[in-house]
Amino acid sequence: MPTIRVQTEDFDLGAEVDALRAGNAKIGGIALFVGLVRDINDGAGVSTLTLEHYPAMTQKALVDIVDQACARWDVINATVIHRVGQLMPTDQIVLVIVASGHRGDAFQACEFIIDFLKTRAPFWKKESTQKGERWVEARASDDAASSRWQALHKSEES
């Protein structure tokens, strides 16, 4: 069963990998992504980052994204953890782990989940910088990263 959590507390990456594996000897490879708070975003020093979300929708959106990944690739197990609240530079924001029989599936499912999460899960970032507070703008590159999976999907079908 996939693990999907939204929390204010930090997470322990090694412990999450151990829990995901749980001694399953069918797992040949695990791909993992962890997103971190950088101190520079568009040139302004970031002192804190505050993450807001839409609680009633977040879990549903993450479950849907993981379900799509499980339908497209050989996924033995997956973990998605996203933090909310106030974070500092170098803090961990998000963790995606995918265990699979084969590495190609693990990599693709992991990258798909983080790409879709970035464009479809209801989280918003507000940066506090030396210049004051500002909401982080959505990036066109994230839309492109997300939509390439759609293009790939179509070409797989043809």
Partner: protein
């Protein structure tokens, strides 16, 4: 019919309100709700203009302007997401 309308992130701050109940004649679409909100003028008219980027979810699922609303629906309006 009564709708539960929610605002998030920069739109919540722009409007100065996190949620409200809005009555709309049925049947209605998301587009009809947006017309009502823009008619309030000022920041409502500007922030929800067709030149601005914002998203709508109905009952916690992404929706479009043509999505039909039912009585009691939760309609969330928010800027493009920036998590991860």
């Amino acid at each position: 019919m009564m709708l539960n309308v929610l605002y998030f992130a920069s739109l919540r701050e722009t409007f100065g309100i996190a949620s409200e109940h809005i009555a709309l004649p049925a049947p209605a679409t998301v587009a009809a709700l947006i017309v009502v909100l823009r008619a309030r003028g000022d920041s409502w008219f500007d922030a929800l203009g067709p030149d601005k980027r914002w998203r709508v979810a109905v009952n916690e699922e992404m929706a479009v302007m043509d999505t039909v609303l039912q009585v009691g629906d939760a309609v969330a309006i928010f800027p493009p997401v920036t998590g991860g």
